[in-house]
Symmetry: C2
Subunit: 99 residues, 2 copies
């Protein structure tokens, strides 16, 4: 439980998974979608691959195409993200409105 | 979204909320339930109070009794914890079994 929380709460990790829920993407597409540096994105993708949450697929074309996607374990995180999103919409925006 | 993820992923924060989902508790009860130092628990409870997730209630008895509980915003996190728990049960224990 604590491990899962720390994994998802690590800076950018959650957003990378959230972005990949859209579908398989190239590195450059993920990089363009998130305000994260290339170096840090590489690091996070490697960590997520190691955790079995993300898979890296290489297509031997010219030039080589590399796509990242979620594994079954990664896609199983979707309900968590939906809940976090609705919680944030209900509660975080309400708070800001009150200030 | 990212803010919510970082909040929950902060070391011990998630577990403190998870523990308070059981019901209102004194500091010493939370401390006994989690392997966290008193100093760090104080810090986390203050942060959660500031975020409007935890409330601190003082009962003017002798000796004074202080109880911590979740606010409505805090209780609204329950589905996220349920999902994280089932994800961890399904996927983290499976992984360990395979090693």
């Amino acid at each position: 439980m604590e491990l899962a929380l720390q994994l998802l709460g690590k800076r950018w990790t959650g957003l990378v998974i959230f972005q990949l829920l859209i579908g398989p993407q190239r590195f450059s597409e993920i990089e363009a979608a998130l305000p994260v540096s290339g170096r840090l994105l590489t690091e996070r993708l490697k960590e997520l691959e190691k955790e079995g949450i993300v898979k890296r697929q290489l297509y031997p074309e010219v030039p080589v195409r590399v796509e990242y996607s979620l594994t079954e374990k990664g896609r199983a995180l979707e309900p968590i993200f939906q809940d976090i999103q609705s919680w944030a919409e209900n509660w975080i925006s309400l708070d800001s409105g009150e200030r």
